[in-house]
């Protein structure tokens, strides 16, 4: 549990009510958002208010309360390892921006810039 708390704390390193230009710039990059100067100001204000709200929650004394991982009191929902889906490519590809050779066509993505999920 100590580990968990430490990780959560580092995730909230920007807690506070004033959001800097650097922070909003950074969050914009992470969320792949291209914000205009006006939108940036608005986002700074919104995020500040969100953090205020979180501060409010933090006033509650949670000493001795186990952090919960899910809001529902349910666990162990499983599937058996049985193939239930067939080939539905035609339908699936209707969601693609562009289609080529039975695949989703996307802007050229170069290997060197790859963000591998498995870090």
């Amino acid at each position: 549990m100590e580990d968990l708390e430490k990780k959560q704390q580092t995730n909230c390193k920007n807690s506070g009510n004033l959001i800097s230009d650097e922070t909003i710039e950074y969050v914009g990059i992470l969320a792949k958002l291209d914000l205009s100067p006006e939108e940036k100001e608005q986002a700074k204000k919104d995020m500040g208010e969100m953090l205020d709200y979180i501060d409010k929650l933090n006033e509650l004394d949670t000493a001795g309360v186990e952090p919960m991982s899910h809001v529902f009191p349910v666990n162990n929902v499983f599937r058996e390892d049985v193939v239930t889906n067939g080939d539905d490519r035609e339908n699936m590809l209707k969601n693609a921006p562009e289609v080529k050779n039975g695949s989703y066509q996307v802007p050229k993505t170069v290997e060197g810039e790859r963000k591998d999920p498995c870090l």
Partner: protein, 482 residues
């Protein structure tokens, strides 16, 4: 080099689990399907779709954890790892950060320096990404989501390894264990086992860890060994020049034998993990763990013992064959068919190993069937072909999995057991080689070897060697006294 350095290595090993379906949906995981034919709204990240956990994935992860002496996390959950890349349609990967299913394990390895224990930090479950193909003609990439959602476990070791030799020993041990568990086929070249190498160097005797780099794209044990050597030297050179090592991910190019940094510094690497709200917690009871423990398969030591008892194999044979689950399974299947365990063992340890080495292949890449080896053994046992021909036929079996019965028939390779024919051939050979005949008569017994060779040549290798020897000796003796 003025100073002594120590290399410190930890590994992140991804293993694709051999389930029939993906981790969160009922799509097939079969390899080689046409692009996007094994996809659904869940594994292509459509809004409103919901993942449901494949129970088998949990059991496979537990099996590996138990085999590597891990403790099983009895209250676990999944987390989202956020990043944008076209191979990841959800813009997040479902993984486990906070409560991985297995922790604090260990694996014992053996190298020429003796035994050593390598710590396992954790094992977690996650989903694989899709595959990007770069279009040759247009400025675009094509995405195939058949692999998206295929279950993976990531085995994270402690930084306990000090050399490429230890790394290879660790990987081979892991691979063998996982293959014995039947949890994955662990093929490095096909990507069902992938290893990323975290490496740093420090001055010998220092306790503090140096700055590490992570090396990706290592597709064979040889590539791993080369990459480790290269990266170790690169880091030492930097330190010797008084430069700093940058913590970064590098990509290994095994053809050019060098690595390059994959990501620029400006590139944000903040995955903003948070608990996956679409999946409920995972609770693993003591009873479930006990059941998994009971279900653990026969591992190498037990199998080795059984091979000695049941099949009468010598220690050496049992050790080599059980060194790979594939060889062991193959051995059992072929033995079942021909009932000649020692013969099967000889073919596996001799010619099979020789050809695997020559073709730079791993045992799991064996293409031929146990049935064809069993048939070949039957042919040699009944004396239909001699050992020279058998080796020749075996090479055909190894490369093309031909049926030895029809191959021998078609190519007229059957041993000639007709003594009359053999006699006339040998008589001719003796006539043509009076020098050797004389040598033999003068007590130079080795000369018979040459005559055997000449006879085999004249018979195109199809003669029964025992019979050749016998008839030769008989005729040579007769010519002397007759």
């Amino acid at each position: 080099m003025s100073k002594e350095y120590e290399t410190v290595i930890g590994l992140e090993v991804h293993v694709e689990l051999a389930t029939k379906t993906k981790i969160f949906c009922g799509c097939s995981t079969a390899f080689g399907g046409a692009p996007n034919t094994h996809t659904c709204p869940v594994c292509t990240g459509m809004p409103g779709s919901l993942p449901v956990l494949n129970k088998k994935v949990v059991e496979y992860a537990m099996a590996v954890g138990l085999a590597t002496n891990c403790s099983i996390t009895q209250y676990g959950k999944f987390d989202r790892k956020n990043y944008f890349y076209p191979d990841n349609p959800q813009n997040y990967q479902i993984s486990q950060l906070y409560l991985p299913i297995c922790r604090n394990g260990s694996v014992e390895i053996e190298t020429s320096d003796g035994k050593k224990t390598i710590g396992i930090h954790e094992i977690h479950m996650e989903e694989d990404a899709g595959k990007l193909i770069h279009d040759e003609w247009e400025e675009c990439s094509l995405v195939d989501y058949n692999r998206s959602g295929v279950p993976l476990i990531e085995i994270v070791s402690e930084p306990d390894m000090r050399s490429a030799q230890e790394v290879i020993a660790y990987l081979e041990k892991l691979r063998m264990m996982i293959q014995y568990l039947g949890v994955s086929d662990c093929k490095l070249n096909e990507g069902s086992m992938r290893a990323d190498v975290n490496l740093s160097v420090r001055e010998a005797g220092s306790i503090q860890l140096g700055t590490r780099t992570e090396m990706k794209n290592l597709n064979s044990f040889k590539a791993i060994a080369r990459a480790i050597e290269n990266e170790k030297n690169r880091q030492i050179d930097l330190l010797e020049e008084g430069k700093n090592i940058i913590q970064e991910t590098r990509r290994w190019d095994d053809i050019k034998e060098y690595s390059y940094a994959m990501r620029s510094k400006e590139d944000a690497q903040d995955y903003r993990y948070f608990p996956e709200p679409d999946l409920v917690p995972l609770v693993i009871s003591d009873a479930w763990i006990a059941k998994m423990k009971e279900g653990q398969p026969e591992f190498r030591t037990e199998k080795m013992e059984r091979y000695k008892q049941q099949y009468g194999l010598p220690d050496y044979d049992a050790e080599i064959i059980t060194g790979s689950k594939y060889l062991a399974d193959f051995f059992e299947a072929a033995t079942e068919l021909c009932q000649k365990p020692k013969k099967v063992s000889n073919w596996l340890m001799g010619e099979t190993m020789r050809l695997l080495k020559e073709r730079e292949m791993e045992p799991e890449e064996i293409q031929f069937s146990p049935a064809n080896l069993a048939k070949l053994i039957a042919l040699t046992e009944e004396g239909s072909i001699n050992s020279t021909v058998a080796k020749e036929v075996f090479e055909k079996i190894f490369d093309e999995d031909i049926d030895p019965d029809s191959y021998v028939k078609e190519h007229g390779l059957k041993t000639v057991n007709d003594e009359g024919e053999l006699r006339s051939v040998i008589e001719q050979v003796l006539k043509e080689n009076p020098k050797s005949v004389e040598d033999y008569r003068n007590g130079k017994e080795k000369a018979i070897g040459f005559l055997v060779g000449q006879t085999m040549k004249a018979m195109k290798g199809k003669a029964n060697p025992g019979m050749v020897n016998q008839v030769l000796k008989e005729l040579l003796a007769r010519e002397v006294f007759g």
